[in-house]
């Protein structure tokens, strides 16, 4: 019986990948454990091992094909002695996809699930009109930001787990070791408390560390140095000694990684005076804000999102593109209701706004970009215009960022509100593992749509 080999999922967030290279050709004998092909995931280049024995009867997806969805058949293995041609043709019902050149074109069912190549996002107000744009992922934008700042300032260095030789656990620091060497791109032992403290000490002495947490979940081990050592020293020293540190890494829920690996720290760190908390959505903002964060003399908590790493956006081609910290961005203008959100929360807001548009509801989406200092003026301006507001975040409801936004609106725009503000948040439970429960624990587009209708008193 011929067996289909399917495109494997090789990381928690992988939905598609590139079939970089076949290491076996049609007609080759296959033993269990043989390396069949190399696949590029959102994190790394991985080898696909054979589980079944037989002969590689047919390659269905050619070398170099991008955006191959997980579970797409990529090859057929036939039993030894079986008629290879017949085995292949017996699979005729399977689609016979061709190598797809343009990643965006959904030319075959094999890539139907591929994400849109460019998430639609209006340019930041910081980008001058007519600027040439280039398409890149959030991951690449972050890497470029670090590389540019490291070229500019010899005191900037990157330190963390797997940032150098492994090229970054999520490939964000890819290529930095090759360009800047081991002196400035430093692999640490697994020792978050220790290397966070070491980085802050180096910053006291005037260096400008970029401290990567493999995920912010592990920053809880180091939170004393972030809060007590980094955030408070300028104040406690009467202004003599600051900590020009950037703590960065993926924050919040990824996919199916359970309670301990799905913590959103936006509310935690944003409650601390002395810290600045940045959390971008687009690649352009990721780049411009990370560059600003590296140059900032204060300790910055830079919250990225693993799901967004692989998403593509337009990024301006500029010598020195900086996005100011503390400024929100109107992502979509509207007059009926304001969505206030940031980072991954934007994905719910954008989809919900598109659905609501069909029903004639005109949503304004405000991408906060910085959580602290919060651009309260931008929130208030928008709420005064629409009179209605929904906040969207993946974090917990109690003492969440949404709660803070609601309080500020209440203090400054109470009389402009036509309805109580609704908070859409992650549910008040530890993140479950089961796929259905995880989905329930996170916000969803339906909830956002319903909330928008509720504040508009529409059913």
């Amino acid at each position: 019986m011929p067996t289909n080999i399917l495109m494997p999922a090789l990381s928690p967030t992988m939905e598609q990948g590139k079939l970089s290279k076949w290491l076996k050709k049609e007609g080759d004998k296959i033993k269990s454990g043989d390396i069949l092909a190399e696949i590029e995931t959102d994190k790394a280049t991985m080898e696909v091992e054979a589980v079944d024995e037989g002969v590689l009867a047919k390659i269905l997806i050619a070398d170099g094909t991008e955006n191959v969805a997980v579970n797409t058949p990529i090859a057929i293995i036939a039993d030894e002695g079986e008629d290879v041609g017949a085995a292949a043709s017996s699979q005729a019902s399977a689609p016979a996809p061709k190598a797809v050149e343009a990643p965006a074109a959904p030319a075959s069912p094999a890539i139907a699930n591929a994400q849109p190549a460019v998430a639609q996002a209006p340019a930041s107000p910081e980008i001058p009109e007519g600027t040439q744009m280039v398409t890149m992922t959030v991951r690449e934008a972050l890497r470029d930001a670090m590389a540019e700042e490291m070229r500019r300032d010899g005191d900037v260095f990157v330190i963390g787990e797997e940032v150098a030789e492994y090229q970054g656990a999520y490939k964000v620091t890819q290529g930095l070791l090759q360009e800047f060497g081991a002196r400035r791109v430093i692999d640490t032992p697994i020792t978050e408390h220790g290397f966070a403290g070491l980085g802050v000490g180096a910053a006291f002495a005037g260096l400008k560390p970029i401290i990567e947490f493999m995920t912010f979940n592990f920053s809880m081990q180091a939170i004393d140095h972030i809060v007590n050592s980094a955030a408070k020293t300028l104040y406690m020293s009467g202004g003599q000694m600051g900590s020009p540190v950037v703590f960065r890494g993926p924050n919040g829920a990824a996919a199916r990684v359970g309670a301990q690996h799905s913590q959103d720290f936006a509310a935690w760190y944003s409650s601390v005076p002395g810290l600045t908390v940045v959390s971008p959505y687009t690649a352009a903002d990721a780049k411009g804000l990370l560059k600003a964060a590296i140059r900032d003399p204060n300790p910055i908590v830079f919250l990225e999102n693993e799901i967004l790493y692989g998403q593509t956006f337009d990024v301006p081609v500029m010598d020195d593109f900086i996005v100011p910290i503390g400024k929100a961005r109107i992502h979509r203008e509207g007059k009926d209701v304001t969505f206030v959100t940031w980072s991954i929360g934007m994905t719910y807001a954008i989809k919900a706004a598109a659905e609501l548009e069909k029903e004639g509801i005109d949503v304004e989406i405000l991408d906060l970009r910085t959580i602290r200092p919060m651009d309260t003026d931008a929130i208030i301006r928008s709420v005064m215009k629409t009179g209605r507001c929904v906040t969207i975040e993946e974090g917990y409801p109690q003492s969440g960022v949404g709660a803070e936004i609601v309080a500020r609106i209440m203090e400054r725009a109470f009389d402009y509100l036509d309805a109580p503000v609704i908070r859409i948040t992650g549910k008040d439970v530890p993140m479950p593992y089961a796929a259905n429960l995880e989905k329930l624990a996170l916000p969803n587009v339906g909830e956002v749509v319903a909330a928008a209708k509720a504040v508009l008193y529409r059913s």
């Binding site: 260095f157 002196r183 640490t188 032992p189 020792t191 408390h193 220790g194 290397f195 966070a196 403290g197 070491l198 980085g199 802050v200 000490g201 180096a202 910053a203 006291f204 002495a205 005037g206 260096l207 004393d224 140095h225 007590n228 050592s229 020293t233 300028l234 104040y235 406690m236 020293s237 009467g238 202004g239 003599q240 000694m241 600051g242 005076p273 002395g274 600045t276 003399p297 204060n298």
Partner: protein, 355 residues
């Protein structure tokens, strides 16, 4: 455990405990002073700086009692030889960082006693404009990086100061002080590992004053020889008589040379003793008065120098009286300044949060 607890409570058993503590504190360093005798100038310098710390701390205690100093106040009395001996071996640019028992380190680094005392009283002329307090003071100019209130935090931070020296390729070292209590924190060993892995120029100075707040070393530490705490990282260490400033300086010379030459970190366990309670509010019932008195009588770091000076005729009683008077005047000035200096302007509440 139970037996140890009894020790603290029953007078008879406490004496036995006291003896052990005194003996340990008095134990000569491995190799003693390594034959390093002080010149008369060095003896007098050590005497003067140690005396300044002692008188300053006595005055702090007095002012705390008067309500002029608030919060926590941890005095360094008894431990003066440690920081003074270390600083006698330092050179310009060497960094110092310590925990909350930090007044002595600041004075030894040459920070202005007026500024230190005014910080203790929370006045605008304090080194942190009155916003840091006893446990949180810094001086970029003197390379003093605090003053840290979280036990053990300074160890990772101090390792980072050494990292900065290594990154810049200079030959300065980081002198990272912590106590026998902090030595049990996890981040200390995270730091040891990285320091040795990357050969960072950091001297870990463990001030073993026998008590982590009220817990005797024997009740808290499975390995009471703190010089061995870096063994599994291959960090060399030695025990030093921290009551003898000459022994401290000799050990410092050796450790600093080791670090400056790029050999990585070094551990010095300073066997010392704190005369006062952990903080001003600690009645120190976990040890006997006799135990404290015995160290004072037999092993006081300042008396040791004083008697050597007189015996060696490096100065006369009158010379020393003059030094004493000079030190008292400095401390009195500091106290007066710290008492009369105004509190910070209310607007200071909102400054220095961000650069």
């Amino acid at each position: 455990m139970a037996a140890t607890r009894t020790t603290a409570r029953s007078a008879g058993a406490a004496k036995a405990g006291a003896k052990t503590a005194v003996k340990a504190a008095a134990k000569p360093a491995r190799g003693g002073t390594n034959g390093l005798e002080f010149t008369p100038e060095q003896e007098l310098e050590a005497y003067k700086t140690m005396l300044l710390i002692r008188r300053f701390e006595e005055k702090s205690g007095q002012m705390y009692g008067m309500g002029l100093i608030g919060g926590f106040c941890h005095l360094y009395i008894g431990q003066e030889a440690v920081v003074v001996g270390m600083q006698m071996s330092a050179k310009e640019g060497d960094a110092v960082i310590t925990g909350y028992r930090d007044h002595g380190h600041m004075l030894a680094c040459g920070m202005d006693p007026k500024g230190v005392m005014a910080e203790l009283t929370g006045r605008r002329g304090g080194l942190s404009k009155g916003k840091g307090g006893s446990m949180h003071m810094f001086s970029k100019e003197k390379h003093f990086y605090g003053g840290h209130g979280i036990v053990g935090a300074q160890v990772a931070l101090g390792t980072g100061l050494a990292f900065a020296n290594a990154y810049r390729g200079n030959d300065n070292v980081s002198m990272t002080y912590f106590g026998d209590g902090a030595a049990n924190q996890g981040q200390v060993y995270e730091s040891f590992n990285m320091a040795q892995l990357w050969k960072l120029p950091v001297i870990y100075i463990i001030e073993n004053n026998r008590y982590a707040m009220g817990t005797a070393v024997s009740r808290a530490s499975a390995q009471q020889d703190f010089s061995k705490r870096g063994l599994s990282f291959n960090i060399p260490g030695e025990q030093v008589d921290g009551m003898d400033v000459r022994a401290v300086k000799a050990a410092a010379e050796h450790a600093i040379k080791w670090c400056r030459e790029g050999n990585g970190p070094y551990i010095l366990e300073m066997q010392t003793y704190r005369y006062r309670g952990h903080s001003m509010s600690d009645p120190a019932k976990y040890r006997t008065k006799e135990e404290v008195q015995r160290v004072r009588d037999e092993n006081d770091p300042i008396e040791q120098v004083r008697s050597r000076i007189l015996k060696g005729k490096m100065a006369t009683e009158d010379d020393l009286k003059q030094i004493d008077a000079g030190v008292r005047a400095i401390v009195a000035d500091a106290a007066e300044f710290a008492t009369n200096d105004p509190e910070p302007d209310p607007s200071e509440l909102w400054t220095d949060i961000l650069v």
